[in-house]
Symmetry: C2
Subunit: 407 residues, 2 copies
């Protein structure tokens, strides 16, 4: 054996999402693109806002000496300032450029944060169902993943989180709006979490960092508001990405925002900057930094996603599926009509429908539908969804058949 | 304490290059930009080629559905194919898209490669003087750094490398053209290395991976050719970056190229793709992938750097400095006129000259000049360089003074 043993082990249990993605490619080759209903990947299908394209063309054309040179490891000061101003406006906190580190998306941000924080054996709590990459990110830095189930409505179970906190707990990751459930944590949930962490922090004389993974904070429906964790709790860190807000997940641009009064703020900021450098990110892509500087208040049209949610929820409810209606993001987490979610996902495959089994998110008995797809994909898939659930219902067996079987 | 202990320790011994960079900013504020001669950072000052700008504007303007969406973790197939074709042409090897993973520059590439390969305690050999980030990259994955000195002309010391190889040696990193010395390893050096690794690989029944960090492979002078390690040795992996070839280090675009007959090729490729994902890179920036697809044979005008080298080498030789003339990259590694390189670097600071002490590269007694600066910076700094070396020469003491001192 030559490659890393840990990576070799990870390979064999590799991401179910990607596996579905590959099965999807094979199915599409066989049946044609429009005959396959691919809900497996969170790759936004709403195009970037026109303002993004205008800004890109403007910057592409500008004559700036060494426009594509290294930026400071933390990012351009003007970009960080624009981000700080935006957060200051929405939270009332006094954020400055010194509280912001530009990152390669939220995935890059989370890796940098965890590397900066974790010593081997430190525990990080994540809430089930969870985004599939969290365990990898935590184990990258020899952290220990502690799984805590959410309540039946996918809101955080404060008492259970409290029981999971030990002397070794370094951080808790939350993700609201949530992937895979679409849940937006309420103001009360956030306040209760903050109260719990303050209490536990005092007891242990060691802070608990609240890491909020917020790539979907702008993708919310029906006027729902995402409560600010920065306002609620001072030992909090935001991992943000423009991937979903501006529909550019391939460009890898996001940021880390640190509460101005976080524990040992200077050390933490220096650590985040160092880790950006030594993990090989070096700096967030320069061109994208320039562009997002001027797009702080721009977003894709969220109504487009809301319509998709409504189409999907309407169709699935009519077919008899059970789920909690998403308040944000573009995922629906559906109860599998049979306990074995993998088996049901295979049943859906026969309908050329690609979804991801809940066990991939630590939550068997469910499956995830990523509805960032064409409306027609949703509409045309509904018959297949209906057939699949009907198949799982106890068959009405005729009197004759019953008599026959008892014979 | 709350942040990672390892990171805290790294912070206190943080990069000398960045420290010089910051001292530079302070000096520039005090004396004015044009009065400070900043040779501390390898941030290319030659602008990107016109072809890059044309391609950027073209791609920015194109109407492509979801142009900025996620790419496959390994990168766009067409980009990988373009890279594979280029390498096939120059090496005669049959490279395909399946041997290429697009990366966030060479820094991202090296992190992905080392994570894919290393188990805790695996040893990685690097050659002194070394690029300052290598020890960080290796220790990120709990690897053990083994330092082997180069020969006085900075070429690899094959015998010394042979002695440093143990049962735990997983890989050797080389960097030619070299940062900080400008050395280009000869065809003979590469062949000797390959022979050594094959022999040791057979003896240990376990391959030694040769990782070639090649961001400067296009930046060579006087018609020097960089020998291909892929042609010489099958267990070799290239970490490449377009940062220097196209002058866009801030955009974070490069690739990993794996020898088609490398040991357990399929596992290694899968591992590289997985590590790209789970380290949070996810994919190399999409827009830059599209652009470099069409710029495989484009490079900055290397003559511009060659002229800078000649200006600098001429001036420093006249002043009495000792160094090996760089054959590539844009660094000059100069013998300090006094044994204490840090002290001499401080003497140069008094002349408003910023360079980096050799100890930062594991090689005390030298200092590094990054000559990717304006010609005028080089020319105007030469007086200061001359004064500094004169100061270090043994003073001619007059007869009278000698008599006086003996009195």
């Amino acid at each position: 054996m030559s490659i890393s043993k840990k990576i070799k082990a990870s390979l064999s249990g590799s991401s179910m999402i990607r596996k579905m993605f590959e099965e999807g490619i094979a199915l599409k080759k066989k049946h044609g693109e429009d005959k396959v209903y691919d809900f497996s990947l969170g790759n936004p299908n709403v195009d970037h806002p026109e303002a993004f394209k205008r800004e890109l063309i403007k910057v592409a054309d500008q004559e700036i000496k060494l426009k594509h040179g290294y930026t400071p490891n933390a990012g351009y000061p003007e970009t960080r300032l624009a981000v700080a101003r935006k957060i200051s406006r929405t939270t009332g906190l006094k954020m400055t450029a010194d509280h912001i580190v530009m990152s390669c998306g939220a995935g890059g941000a989370l890796n940098v944060i965890l590397k900066a924080l974790l010593d081997p054996g430190d525990e990080v709590i994540i809430l089930t169902p969870f985004f599939v990459e969290y365990p990898f990110y935590i184990e990258n830095y020899d952290g220990v993943v502690k799984y805590v189930s959410t309540r039946p409505d996918f809101s955080p179970d404060i008492a259970a989180i409290g029981r999971a906190i030990t002397r070794k707990t370094k951080a808790v990751i939350i993700n609201s709006p949530n992937n895979p459930t679409g849940k937006v944590y309420s103001q009360k949930s956030i306040k209760d979490l903050a109260r719990l962490f303050r209490k536990k922090g005092r007891e242990r004389k060691r802070p608990i960092y609240l890491i909020a993974d917020e790539p979907y904070s702008e993708i919310v429906f029906d006027g729902v508001k995402v409560p600010s964790i920065l306002k609620a709790y001072s030992n909090s860190i935001i991992a943000y990405s423009y991937s979903k807000t501006l529909s550019l997940p391939g460009e890898r641009i996001g940021y880390i925002a640190v509460h101005p009064r976080i524990h040992e703020a200077d050390d933490l900021m220096a650590a985040l900057i160092l880790c950006t450098r030594i993990l090989g990110f070096v700096n967030a892509p320069a061109l994208m930094q320039r562009i997002v500087t001027h797009l702080q208040n721009v977003s894709v049209d969220v109504k487009i996603y809301q319509k998709k949610r409504d189409l999907l929820c309407g169709g699935l409810a009519a077919a008899g599926y059970e789920f909690a209606r998403p308040e944000g993001a573009f995922y629906l987490f559906v109860k599998s009509p049979i306990p074995d979610d993998a088996a049901f996902v295979h049943r859906l495959l026969q309908e050329n429908i690609l979804v991801v089994p809940g066990r991939g998110f630590g939550c068997p008995g469910y499956f995830r539908i990523a509805f960032c797809v064409e409306d027609s994909t949703i509409v045309n898939s509904l018959e297949g969804f209906a057939r699949a659930i009907q198949d799982c219902r106890p068959k009405k067996v005729s009197r004759r058949a019953r008599l026959g079987s008892s014979a």
